[in-house]
């Protein structure tokens, strides 16, 4: 428990990076966490060749884990190749959070932001 609420995670949730909404893009996705009603809305822009995530902003309401993970993920994703973003998995998120493991009950909290980003990118009209 104490590991889960370490300073880095609490800080990240309290001062989330890339928080907001990008204007002038149709790439928008709202994701729900069915276990608690948390929501995350992601807006993003990709380059003309549709190879790289140029920018991403997000807003959301949720627990420390979902907010901190989305914040860390947003920093990770910007500037990255879309194909690499689609390869991000649970382990990558755990590494970002500096956690060895997470209880099954919190996996959905951790994954909600990634689901939004990957759904958007996987369904890009390419």
């Amino acid at each position: 428990m104490s590991e889960l609420f370490q300073e880095i995670i609490l800080d990240e949730a309290k001062h989330p990076a890339n928080y907001g909404t990008l204007q002038g893009t149709d790439l928008k996705q709202v994701q729900y966490n069915p276990s608690c009603g948390d929501t995350i809305q992601v807006t993003l822009k990709v380059n003309d060749e549709k190879e790289i995530v140029e920018n991403l902003k997000w807003t959301g309401e949720g627990c420390t884990i979902s907010m901190a993970t989305m914040s860390l993920l947003s920093k990770e994703v910007i500037g990255k190749k879309i194909d690499d973003v689609l390869k991000i998995d649970q382990q990558v998120l755990l590494d970002l959070l500096d956690l060895e493991t997470i209880t099954p009950g919190r996996i959905k909290c951790m994954m909600i932001g990634l689901r939004a980003v990957q759904d958007l990118l996987a369904n890009l009209p390419r």
């Binding site: 428990m1 889960l4 608690c36 948390d38 309401e61 884990i65």
Partner: protein
């Protein structure tokens, strides 16, 4: 320690555990666990129609257990249809009764505080049958708005066919005034049927189906000290005898005779609704749970629960950052106290409490419409059973105080 705690092996195996998630599922006393293993060790055989000795034994365990359960609820044996849980019971009401008796534009009234199990089946039926689904409002205190109900009964007249409502709300803890609802229905000479979702009332109060005078009552065994996988729908015998309530699951056991082109259902009402092999061990386990509760006495169970609810309301009410959800007056409340910790998400609260060995539930508790209506993202629920005591609530309060040290 509460003396009942020693009857529950989970607390021997987890001596530090403060279990306050009873509205989700309760723990099971040794007698329930024993009755299940005893059945499999000594009496396992398929019920009914077997000629051999063991089948007879199994059948009589099943039949006697069913009688015990029906008796616990003040119902006739034939009025009890065994299901997996309250959810399946409410689906049975939708597909065994509503489907055959309602038509397009008929109205079903539920309330905004309902569990998804008492919402989604009706939404599905509304898609297939074109019946309408209306929501009775609640007031700021979390009590059913009876004026709103009366207006809807008057407005819809004969179109209103069913009022299906939680006996006790699993999120607000509200005990709904069933007598007043029946009074209103009678006052306006409505012929609508009344159904109670008893998942949260059966574990905490004496339920007498005959005295309640409702048409249907659904319950889950696992929330009332029984095993998972067994519950029931109690149906007024007139509705069964007239065939208005008919089987919604078909197969072996529930038939009188089967030909290539037709089937006659079992005349015996208590068998007509048992399609396939029943979960005999769980039914025996639930009967043992009923006996355990009856031995304590349901009046005593309710009194104990009311004391805990009142104490929790008082103690949680003293905490600055805690906002209690639902009625603050303990007379309208049973089973649980739900709250929001200002500025900290419910999952984070539950996680901190778990670190202090206090198990609570966080989320929307399968009452998403209620949460959306009130703009609550998620809430925390502490719910009680016979083995909880005031010390458990003290531990809960102490654990809540830790939140401030983590989320500064």
């Amino acid at each position: 320690m509460n003396s009942y705690k020693t009857d529950f092996p989970i607390f021997k195996n987890h001596p530090q555990l403060i279990y306050l998630d009873n509205a989700a599922t309760s723990q099971k006393p040794q007698s329930v666990i024993d009755s299940i293993s005893d059945y499999y060790e000594n009496s396992c055989a398929n019920v009914h129609r077997g000629v051999h000795h063991l089948s007879d034994t199994s059948t009589s365990i099943f039949e006697n257990s069913k009688k015990t359960i029906a008796n616990f609820f003040g119902a006739k044996n034939k009025e009890l249809i065994l299901t997996r849980n309250a959810t399946e019971a409410l689906n049975g009401l939708a597909y065994g009764w509503a489907q055959h008796n309602l038509k397009k534009d008929d109205l079903i009234l539920i309330s905004i505080m309902e569990h998804h199990a008492n919402i989604v089946p009706w939404q599905q039926l509304s898609k297939s049958l074109g019946v309408k689904l209306g929501f009775i409002a609640i007031n700021k205190e979390g009590l059913l708005n009876l004026n709103d109900l009366e207006e809807k009964i008057e407005l819809h007249g004969e179109k209103l066919k069913l009022i299906s409502i939680a006996h006790v709300s699993n999120t607000l803890g509200t005990v709904n005034p069933i007598e007043k609802i029946i009074e209103l229905v009678k006052k306006h000479k409505s012929n609508c049927k009344i159904s109670l979702d008893g998942a949260q009332s059966a574990p905490h109060m004496k339920v007498n189906f005959a005295q309640l005078d409702v048409d249907f009552y659904a319950f889950s065994g696992h929330k009332m000290l029984g095993p998972m996988g067994v519950g029931g729908l109690i149906v007024k015998s007139e509705l069964l005898q007239s065939g208005e309530m008919s089987p919604w699951l078909f197969g072996g056991g529930m038939i009188e005779s089967v030909y290539q082109d037709k089937t006659k259902f079992n005349e015996d009402l208590s068998e007509r609704f048992i399609a396939g092999t029943p979960d005999v061990a769980s039914v025996a386990g639930l009967a043992a749970a009923c006996q355990y509760l009856q031995k304590i006495g349901m009046d005593k169970v309710e009194k104990h629960d009311r004391e805990l609810v009142q104490y929790a309301l008082e103690e949680l009410g003293k905490l600055d950052d805690v906002k209690i959800i639902g009625p603050l007056d303990p007379q309208y409340r049973l089973g649980s106290v739900t709250f929001i910790y200002q500025g900290v998400h419910a999952h984070d609260v539950a996680q901190v409490l778990d670190g202090e060995n206090v198990a609570v539930r966080s989320g929307h508790h399968c009452t998403m419409p209620l949460h959306v209506e009130n703009k609550w993202i998620a809430t925390v629920r502490a719910s009680f059973s016979v083995y909880n005591d005031k010390k458990d609530i003290d531990q809960l309060v102490n654990a809540i105080k830790k939140i401030k040290t983590i989320f500064k």
